[in-house]
């Protein structure tokens, strides 16, 4: 995925790779799309490169777990590290307090799990001839790692982001608690996005907007569902014509089902996070690595701009794990084999059934 492919099919736009801008933090992908990193390298891989510029990412929260904050934190830190301006809105009275919890990127001197893998792979290079057909697993790991750092960093969730990244000009914060009809938030987003207006020439910069817990119950606009939807609609139209990505999290259980569905349909990329029970013996037996898991992430929709070809994911549900309690990784669920003839049991299990089909029954 690091090297842009030539025309994969007749439906993809043929964009010559020389037109790709060499801006740190923005990667060009197939069909002339530009990507921003989500801050989590596993998520970028799953989504086919990252979040496309000009798209709206919606994260559905689980009322019992704060995992959406992990996604938001990585997204915000990534933007700040790459010098991309950020607008953050939350229902807290003092949103700047949240900036203190943003993780700091690990420096390359730190022990990273990637190193050991590439060492092993070098030894196997001779036997494993098929590696040359894979786009990403090239043996020149050093050069690739530098490129990767310009796009996506590994974040240490235990260390807070250094003060220099949080200086005034790059970060704007806003509280959404008191605005009765979201007009203030709308205006703020409009002024922020004006800096990144998209023209046909080279892009000058990219921006990020993070809106946390949209429609939290303590906000004044909580009951005004039509206002909420019209705000999202106008936000989407503003985003389409600018070089920015908006990530928005909302609790779907607090909205009426029809409005929650409408909001989900408005998303370009739709993710959801779910909590898992603690010390559950059944889950511990059925899933490997249950001890390290803190939650589940499901991908419901992936943005595809400029193409008619959809992304077909191998698995729709991933487990969120904290490696060494520092690094956030997403892994496919590894389950015990499921009897293939049980049609009814899939219906009750929701999106997990997709992952089980792909996983352990591939001989």
């Amino acid at each position: 995925m690091a090297t842009p492919k030539t025309r994969a099919s007749s439906f993809s736009r043929n964009v010559p790779s020389t037109a790709a801008p060499q801006m740190p933090g923005v990667k060009s992908g197939p069909n002339g799309t530009l990507f921003l990193s989500s801050g989590i390298s596993d998520l970028d891989k799953i989504l086919g490169g990252g979040f496309p510029l000009g798209s709206l990412v919606v994260v559905m929260e689980d009322p019992e777990a704060p995992h959406h904050m992990l996604l938001l934190r990585n997204f915000m830190s990534q933007g700040l590290v790459l010098n991309q301006p950020l607008l953050y809105a939350s229902p807290a009275k003092d949103p700047r307090g949240f900036l203190g919890t943003l993780p700091s990127p690990v420096s390359s001197k730190d022990d990273k799990p990637l190193d050991r893998d590439s060492e092993q792979e070098k030894g196997l290079r001779i036997a494993w001839q098929y590696k040359k057909y894979f786009g990403e697993n090239q043996p020149n790991s050093n050069g690739q790692r530098d490129n990767k750092f310009e796009f996506c960093n590994e974040f240490d969730l235990r260390k807070p982001l250094q003060r220099q990244f949080l200086s005034g000009q790059r970060v704007e914060c806003m509280s959404t608690q008191d605005s009765p009809d979201l007009a203030a938030l709308h205006d703020r987003c409009a002024t922020f996005l004006k800096q990144f207006f998209r023209t046909d020439g080279n892009i000058s910069g990219a921006g990020r907007i993070a809106i946390q817990s949209f429609c939290a119950p303590q906000c004044t606009y909580f009951d005004k569902e039509w206002h909420v939807l019209s705000f999202i609609r106008s936000l989407r139209s503003m985003i389409r014509s600018s070089n920015a990505v908006v990530i928005l999290s909302f609790p779907p259980s607090l909205l009426s089902p029809s409005f929650s569905k409408r909001l989900q349909h408005m998303a370009d990329t739709l993710l959801s996070v779910r909590a898992i029970p603690d010390e559950d013996k059944d889950l511990a037996k059925l899933l490997t690595g249950y001890q390290d898991m803190i939650g589940l992430l499901s991908v419901h929709k992936v943005a595809r701009i400029n193409t008619q070809v959809p992304i077909i994911l191998e698995a729709a549900t991933f487990s969120i794990k904290l490696q060494k309690r520092k690094f956030l990784v997403l892994e496919c669920l590894n389950q015990a084999p499921v009897d293939g003839s049980s049609g009814t049991s899939y219906a009750t299990s929701g999106s997990c059934s997709v992952s089980s089909k792909g996983g352990s029954l591939d001989f």
Binding site: A65, Q218, D278
Partner: protein, 369 residues
């Protein structure tokens, strides 16, 4: 398990985090919510008086019962309200919520609270203004601390009553303000879930870090018709209920616990009940059709099977099964057990007698699976 709730409230909030918040939910099928609320209140108060808790005081916002009721309740449990140290303040939203009595009676006594209760209670005459209510509660709490440092707890009598006077978002604002206040140690409130829409009940689940719900311990077959059999079941619901708690832990996982609660004349008791295990986990993953694990009985039976050839390894001489008699039969003959003595008489004359013995011995052994 109710102990763990009280412990969580006692330990209070960590620096930089919101205070733990508990919702106690009940319904018409299990109307024991207030008893549980009173129990938690009494436990927290005794921790505060003993100095074992993070909070040094408690502010009780009373909507459904008068302050004197609470004073008597605490006195019954041996907790003196008017002690030398001020530890409790009651914000009285019960006696005169809209200030009508004040306007009608003018200068006369508005609250007919007892002398004890009036010492610790403060009347609120306009409960519709939730912001003012919130700031009054915080003011009372700060008054409890005096000049000292520390934190205080909040207890809200009934969220349903608050929702009668104000909209969902203002009540939610009050709760989140209380929770996020620097001096708040813990917050807990009572909620009757069947009087609210699902969406509204979900709001309070969202805002709390522990949700304790009471469900009917006995499932009535038909909840609507009150017949003679149902009446006794419904009566039992007034005394017993299933108490389940969902803890939202810091690592993002949810801990589920379940107990049985019963109310007797002596008070409230919690007893553990056998859990049916991981119902939440079961809904997340598909049901496996074939079981890869052996149950205990199956494991024991498997251990009993005598392997046919070399690997018998239990110290006895190796017996090769030659297909004619079951090995257990041979073992029992060799050991000379009582029940085998009679039936081991072999009739050498006819094959059928031999066989009958064989079958009989199999039956008395219980067979080999």
């Amino acid at each position: 398990m109710a102990e763990s709730i009280c412990r969580a409230l006692r330990d209070g909030a960590l620096e930089g985090e919101h205070a733990p918040a508990l919702t106690i939910k009940d319904s018409i099928d299990a109307p024991l919510g207030f008893d549980v609320f009173a129990h938690v209140l009494a436990q927290l108060s005794s921790h505060i008086l003993a100095g074992k808790s993070q909070s040094r005081g408690l502010v009780l916002v009373a909507f459904t019962r008068s302050p004197s009721f609470y004073v008597d309740l605490l006195k019954e449990r041996g907790l003196e309200v008017n002690s030398s140290r001020k530890w409790i303040q009651i914000l009285d939203c019960y006696s005169d919520p809209h200030g009508w009595k004040d306007r009608i009676m003018g200068q006369g006594k508005v609250d007919d609270a007892t002398k004890e209760a009036s010492g610790v209670s403060r009347l609120c005459k306009d409960v519709k203004d939730m912001d003012k209510l919130c700031s009054l509660a915080i003011e009372l709490g700060k008054g409890l601390l005096g000049e000292g440092k520390g934190r205080f707890s909040f207890a809200l009598d009934s969220v349903n009553e608050m929702l009668r006077y104000a909209s969902v978002h203002s009540v939610a604002r009050v709760l989140s303000d209380l929770r996020s206040h620097d001096l708040a140690s813990c917050v807990f409130w009572l909620l009757h879930s069947d009087l609210l829409e699902d969406k509204v009940a979900a709001v309070f689940d969202y805002m709390s870090s522990m949700v304790a719900s009471l469900e009917s311990a006995i499932r009535a077959s038909n909840g609507l018709r009150i017949s003679l059999e149902n009446l006794s079941l419904t009566e039992q619901n007034f005394r017993r209920a299933k108490f389940s708690i969902r803890f939202k832990r810091r690592n993002g996982r949810v801990r589920l616990m379940s107990e049985e609660v019963s109310i007797e004349r002596s008070g409230i008791t919690f007893s553990s009940v056998s859990t049916d295990g991981g119902t939440m986990g079961g809904s997340l993953l598909p049901k496996v059709q074939f079981n890869l694990q052996l149950s205990e009985k199956e494991q024991m039976d498997r251990a009993k099977v005598v392997l046919p050839f070399e690997h018998q390894g239990n110290g006895e001489p190796i017996e090769i099964y030659d297909g004619r008699r079951s090995l257990a039969d041979k073992n029992n003959e060799a050991a000379g057990t009582m029940q085998m003595k009679d039936s081991s008489k072999v009739c050498l004359h006819c094959w059928c007698c031999y066989r009958i013995t064989d079958v009989a011995s199999n039956y008395s052994n219980g067979g080999i699976s």
